[in-house]
Symmetry: C2
Subunit: 581 residues, 2 copies
């Protein structure tokens, strides 16, 4: 992981680091050789993952990562590690998560880091850690079953990490416990899904959840089992044996193929300038005055439907490369470009190439690498769903919003599609720089009907046409057809379909209007609009729990000079405004 | 309605009114003769309700209620009006909601009021208006179908009021429109369910919802119909006829009995002192030092299972009287006692009387007054569910947590039940003041299995045992039995069951601990714990939408000196911090 020590990645105005409103620029690149906080061994079907935090390895200066506590840098390594287990070690069928320290599992997010961080930094940090925890559950679903082997106390975010695992073992030694001390000690919530997973996933009775979440020391041993906070409390003398047995049992129950051979995840090809990030297939152009980023996903014609090509080319295969590049671009824009409030999403390429990707995905889910790549794209699309930026799809000549790439448009808050083509002298205004003379077409495929569910369990089309089955069926009937602007508009697939006379003005006015609105109000509005209909544990974590946490984070009782976050560890008590709101 | 003009209800420290952190004390008593903002006519099966706001009738000084805009005082009258339609005019089968002004329906919540109000005042105001809107939907479900007849523009909260109706008619006159201008004009969300109802109830496509919620002038006429924002756009010349036809059709479809004769809702018998509120059956004692309120619901032995008694006694019948008193007590404590963070809920009376209420409810749902009273109790229990106070049930000798009254305990965050009885010399510590010598017993009935659903559609028992069907079935098997402390504890119905040696200390420590925690963190924690499992439009309004709105309300972009709420109407633009969070 590249952290602040490498000045090339530190923007000039961010010298004050997380404590100021200008956070440091963050890189998400790392690999096992550069991990400072994690290591893992793969033995047969089981990987053992050790959290062993370097106290002096904080991603920004100003705090020590004591007691195996973590910050964004620690979590960036964990995310990298999960990706490598998926792609480089596909034969792994169970993952044991444990601590590299003797008597402590993890103390959760570092409190001094939280206390010193700006509001946006805290919120972005929580979002990323939440996504990584959800990713761990997604791995378990895909047959890499995570087991938390808590060889010492797991507090706060440490316990929340365990909650993301399929099974929790706690050493029974009269001192180790699980706890959520955020409310009693810090005046904030366990914000990485803790409250939700305790009641929704672990099915802890809600009055007990209340007792647990207000008891800073938590519970260990028999009581932790009785209250369903952990699955087993295991005496230390039996620890290694029981952990190994549970890992073996989970591996035996996995449906993963035994003969899978991994591919390498090599460093991304990325060039960055002040206002652009360029990868092999994805390009980002930032207009700071307009506060927009234009993200172009270029799908090359070399993309075929042959799964063997994916195995041969590995991470250089266009579908996987695009997915990785998009993932990285989203994370970098989200973390490093807080004032760039609107993202324009475009594609470039032939519909044929996009549909080749569609067939690759649709016809080869029994190939582990195709399946992993599909799941990865699913998670990247979900990152878009929870990204607090206005997302606008521009569908222009030369684009290829077909099959899986159509999901990019459907993830957006609005979709604008050019009716017809541009007059040549207008080409200069094209964000994509494309000059194609064929009108744009969308192609709906089965990719819109279940391959890429949102966090609420609905497809993006299902969310779009929530409660309007007729409209949804009308779209379903058009699968495989090229849908030009008028058809797409009639079917409800786009917000508007102006012709080239109106296009430039309409988009310009839209972007100016968007830039004039309150960033906070937009965040709240989009978070409500994007998740219609049913909610799941996942959406409750990002919706109900996160929204409350964000509110609490900005309240003086947490973050004010007399707030609990600031007073923690000073020996002085927080001075609360006692009004209940 | 008693507003600030009556100084007897104004606490000494609240002279600064809503603008300071110490809001005025609010009364919820009113009746049609005292309405300043509403009137209604009942003609046959249809009631027509006119919003006709008195500009100078604000509940606190400092703003004029122009353009039929509203504040808490206007909504208190609306709430009273809904209750009177239910109980005093049961023959009403359709309700037309319209404006008493010529060319304007309602401009929504008064913006100057919002801008000048403290954070707790805004949050409480939104919660109460949300509950009243949900209550309108509950009326429609009960056969008093609400139809919005928008005879002029409905903006913001005005349109949200219409959204709570079953059908929306908009006059088609080239100027009248519906709109949600909160995001573009005020930098906050349409916080009374607007965003949620547009997509969930009206099934407006989410990209259109995005366009609509960012377009301050909204849409009228054909476009409003095409986008499903309203059901019909009706030319003014056909207006009266069409409105009457729709009202008649709704009345014809209603299942309400034609021969129902209403009862009167007379003023509550309430005595208030500095630290107590006393009604006929409900008593509230406030301990400001400990920041607790003890709420005792006393169920008299005169409560019988005879529905004729309910008709004879009307609002003096104990079940209806208790429901009204509890409703009023919750509203007063919530609005006027912000620092009283923990409520202790107790009951007093015989299990026989509580079970008589249970039989009255269970056996006579075909009696309109029993059904209305049951629905009312359901709504009051839901008020508890969304109340941002820690709720603790104390189950002591002399209590009657049986049938419907057991729901009071199950609505709490925790339940403590005394094992055995108190030694006589301990009686002084009993919050209820009871001195009964029989151990307390709970009785579970069918009232726990569907009569009083929470907002998430689950019963409170179903929420308690979410994901643990075995525990739920074990409780179901004990219906009708007296469950003493050990049994209740074994069945998981109580959090703990200390004996009289431990009781006093355990409760004291619990209350001291609770009072030491951050009020904000408790609010967030309880809002997450109370709503496990599925979510509904209603819980999304109180969870996702409200939490985001609360966050936005405290952000400088809305409420800071340069924020949009403060700048509205000044001719100057808000100065936003452009960082997206």
């Amino acid at each position: 992981m590249t952290v602040l020590e490498e000045p090339v990645n530190v923007a000039e105005d961010s010298a004050v680091a997380g404590a100021s409103d200008a956070p440091p620029r963050v890189d998400f690149d790392t690999d096992p050789e550069h991990y400072r906080h994690w290591r893992f061994d793969v033995e047969g079907e089981t990987a053992t993952v050790y959290l062993d935090v370097a106290e002096d390895g904080g991603i920004v200066p100003g705090y020590e990562l004591k007691l195996n506590s973590y910050d964004l840098g620690v979590d960036i390594e964990l995310y990298d590690l999960t990706q490598r287990l998926r792609f480089e070690h596909p034969q792994v069928r169970s993952v044991v998560l444990t601590s590299g320290k003797d008597s402590n599992f993890c103390a959760g997010a570092n409190i001094r880091m939280l206390a010193a961080s700006s509001h946006p930094w805290k919120v972005n940090f929580c979002k990323f850690t939440n996504e990584t925890r959800n990713g761990i559950e997604d791995m378990t679903e895909a047959g890499q079953t995570w087991i938390a082997a808590l060889n010492g106390t797991a507090a706060g975010g440490g316990y929340e990490m365990a909650l993301a695992c399929d099974r929790i073992l706690l050493v029974d030694d009269r001192s180790s416990a699980v706890s959520l001390p955020e409310v009693p000690l810090l005046g904030v919530l366990p914000g990485t899904g803790g409250l939700t997973r305790v009641i929704d996933k672990r099915k802890v009775r809600k009055d007990r959840a209340d007792v647990f979440a207000t008891k800073s020391e938590g519970f260990g041993g028999r009581k932790a089992v009785e209250w369903k906070l952990v699955d087993e409390a295991v005496p230390r003398r039996e620890w290694d044996r029981v952990v190994a047995e549970r890992a073996a049992a989970a591996a035996a129950a996995s449906s993963r193929p035994a003969d899978a051979r991994g591919i390498s995840l090599t460093p991304l090809h990325r060039t960055e300038t002040d206002d652009a990030i360029t990868y092999d297939h994805v390009r980002v152009a930032i207009d700071r005055a307009a506060r927009t980023a234009t993200v172009v996903v270029a799908v090359p014609d070399t993309l075929t439907d042959d799964p063997a090509a994916l195995h041969d080319q590995g991470d250089q295969h266009p579908l996987l490369a695009i997915t990785r590049e998009l993932d990285d671009a989203i994370l970098r824009l989200r973390t490093n470009e807080l004032e760039v409030g609107t993202w324009l999403l475009l594609t470039e390429g032939s519909t044929e190439a996009a549909l080749a990707a569609d067939r690759l995905i649709a016809d080869h889910q029994d190939d582990w690498l195709v399946a992993e790549t599909t799941r990865y794209l699913k998670r990247v699309l979900k990152r878009l769903d929870v990204t607090s930026r206005s997302l606008i799809a521009l569908i222009e000549p030369g684009s290829c919003f077909a099959g899986p790439f159509l999901e990019l448009a459907l993830a957006c808050d609005r979709q604008y599609m050019l009716e017809g083509t541009f007059e040549e002298d207008d080409d200069a205004t094209l964000p994509s720089g494309a000059a194609a003379q064929e009108p744009a077409a969308l192609v709906v495929t089965d990719a819109q009907f279940g391959t890429f569910p949102m966090g609420n369990g609905l497809t993006r089309l299902g969310s779009r046409f929530y409660g309007d089955d007729e409209a949804l069926e009308a779209v379903r009937a058009k699968r495989g057809e090229e849908l030009f602007a008028a058809d797409a508009d009639d079917l409800g697939l786009v917000t508007d379909a102006p012709d080239d006379i109106d296009w430039t003005d309409e988009i310009r006015i839209l972007l100016e209007e968007r830039a004039s609105l309150s960033p906070d109000a937009l965040t709240g509005m989009e978070a409500n609009h994007r998740f219609v209909g049913p909610e799941t544990m996942e959406t409750r974590i990002f919706g109900r729990l996160t929204a409350w946490q964000n509110w609490i984070f900005v309240r003086p009782n947490a973050s004010g000079p007399e707030g609990a976050l600031r007073k923690y560890g000073t020996g002085r008590k927080a001075d609360f405004d006692q009004k209940r709101v």
